[in-house]
């Protein structure tokens, strides 16, 4: 049984009643715990890396519990290695299932990438070739995860710096096939689209046109840095350590035209600014969402 047939996956076109609002959220960082509890900022929701909450107890759990009581939560994994050739780490999957039971997140997502190998965990989202063999393999892993967690997951498009001679399927098509075969949803990271587009010389807007938007339930925006590749051409690094760039905001607007208003997350994972700095980015995402919502209302009013 590959496809997850729980209630959530009944029809991929109908969005499940997600307690995550169609508003801007941010990645939750320890540096902001105190501020959030003291000031209860007007932010729609938070996202965390579950791996950071896999200790037995202590302040991380105390803060997360307090914040979870007040805000919707999404878990965004970085350690499952669903693109890995090796079998999934059942122990890690067990830890994840326990965390899902404890915090009841509204969404769980992971990356189309691999990070674990025979020698251990490499702590980076490594790329994989897209072909029939890897498609069947990754789909199998997604099915296993959804069965173990008893819920649907979202899979995120990666930022990549290399491609493989061995790839025979376009990334957008690969993701669409994964969603169709397994009933999983998709997380569209528009910064990753901009980064990969620049790095591999494709048009990000055209990529979005091909993206299977009907499966998208969450969008990420983030900052990147610019370097040079071996030919002296721009090579963007998905560094999550800077404000969101203008072309990425434009891609967010474009994506929301297709998806309608859905949760948008600002990721900022290193050189983390004070809360107000993060909130400025979230406010901009919120404005873009708001403009999209207003537009939708006008449309409905006109066609009513």
């Amino acid at each position: 049984m590959l496809g997850y047939t729980g209630a959530c996956a009944a029809n991929a076109r109908t969005r499940p009643d997600s307690p995550i609002p169609a508003s801007a959220g941010v990645g939750l960082k320890p540096a902001h715990y105190q501020h959030i509890l003291e000031h209860r900022p007007a932010i729609g929701w938070f996202e965390v890396h579950p791996e950071n909450y896999m200790g037995a107890g202590g302040p991380p759990h105390r803060y997360l519990e307090a914040i979870r009581e007040r805000y919707p939560l999404s878990l965004h994994g970085v350690g499952l290695s669903i693109g890995g050739a090796h079998p999934l780490d059942r122990e890690h999957l067990g830890r994840l299932a326990a965390l899902v039971r404890r915090y009841q997140p509204a969404l769980f997502s992971e990356h189309l990438a691999w990070s674990t190998h025979t020698r251990g965990f490499m702590n980076d989202l490594l790329p994989l070739p897209y072909n029939d063999e890897t498609l069947a393999h990754v789909a199998g892993h997604i099915g296993e995860v959804q069965d173990a967690l008893g819920r649907r997951m979202l899979v995120e498009n990666p930022a990549t710096y290399l491609r493989f001679e061995d790839s025979s399927i376009a990334e957008t098509r690969f993701l669409e096939e994964l969603a169709t075969r397994t009933g999983c949803g998709l997380l569209l990271d528009v910064n990753n689209v901009h980064v990969s587009g620049t790095n591999h010389g494709f048009d990000p807007a055209a990529y979005l046109d091909r993206f299977p938007m009907r499966f998208v339930e969450e969008i990420h925006v983030a900052g990147h840095v610019r370097r040079e590749d071996d030919l002296g051409k721009p090579l963007l690094i998905d560094s999550h350590d800077a404000p969101v760039a203008d072309p990425v905001w434009a891609l967010l607007e474009q994506a929301l035209q297709d998806t309608g208003p859905i949760p948008v997350l600002v990721e900022w994972d290193s050189s983390i600014p004070a809360w107000d700095g993060l909130m400025r980015e979230a406010s901009r995402a919120q404005q873009i969402l708001h403009a999209r919502t207003t537009q939708e209302h006008r449309h409905h009013a006109a066609t009513a």
Partner: protein, 254 residues
């Protein structure tokens, strides 16, 4: 997954060895050898793992300075990848690595400072438990007490150093300007525990770490006392018990 497995074997080996040739089958923008592109992955893996260890050893980093610290951790990371994606468990063997790391030999106390950092980090993430109130302990008659065994708090750890490791740790961890510590001031025993929200780090009387380890091995209080006194003739049981009770190191008595 023979083909994918081969691809990932080659990729992983090349990521881990910066001197090696790139694996076959990779494409950059055109026909170039995509060394800088592959270097992004090498750098991401290497520096993120160094960051992960650094997060768990802030005092060691301050003590030796960022440059030396990162160079040292890079060697450590090169030897051993994390066994799981839960990076809060990564770096448990770093103190032993530091003890054997040739360029750090002129700081013989460094490994013990690293052990205190690790104990602090473990206590921070340990399971929650309600500490035993000192009054509860006081209600048990002394002759009865000798036969009892103590239940230790999940966050507790103790270590003994032939150096003033705790004084060195403390000033490097907390003081704006690091105070000079006289290395001839002798060895120190350290207790680490998180009875509630905050991790506490305390001095224990000489032999205190031995005593706690004996109790952790499920010996009775009298056995633990005898064991400790054999190695530390002037072991002060009363002061040690007071320190352990006050810090919340116990959760019960059996």
């Amino acid at each position: 997954m023979p083909r994918l497995l081969d691809t990932q074997n080659d990729f992983a080996a090349a990521v881990r060895d910066p001197e090696s040739a790139l694996p076959p089958g990779l494409l950059g923008r055109a026909r170039e050898v995509p060394s800088l592109r592959f270097g992004v992955y090498r750098n991401n893996v290497g520096s993120s793992l160094v960051d992960a260890v650094a997060a768990n050893y802030p005092t060691v980093q301050r003590l030796v300075g960022t440059q030396f610290f990162r160079a040292m951790v890079q060697v450590y990371v090169g030897n051993a990848l994390p066994e799981t994606p839960v990076l809060i468990h990564y770096g448990a063997t770093f103190p032993e690595f530091v003890a054997a790391f040739e360029p750090a030999q002129r700081l013989p106390y460094l490994a013990d400072v690293a052990r205190i950092d690790w104990a602090w980090h473990q206590a921070y993430h340990a399971a929650e438990a309600q500490p035993l109130a000192p009054e509860q302990f006081a209600t048990i008659p002394a002759d009865e007490l000798a036969k009892r065994r103590m239940l230790l708090h999940p966050s507790v750890d103790a270590l003994s150093s032939p150096w003033p490791a705790l004084s060195i740790w403390h000033t490097n961890r907390h003081d704006e300007t690091v105070k000079p510590i006289d290395l001839r001031s002798g060895g120190e025993d350290t207790l680490v525990c998180r009875p509630a929200h905050e991790v506490g780090v305390w001095h224990l009387p000489a032999g205190g770490a031995d005593f706690l380890h004996a109790l952790a091995g499920q010996t009775t209080l009298s056995e633990a006392t005898r064991h400790t006194a054999e190695r530390t003739p002037d072991f002060d049981l009363t002061r040690t018990l007071q320190a352990l009770l006050a810090s919340g190191a116990f959760t019960g008595i059996r």
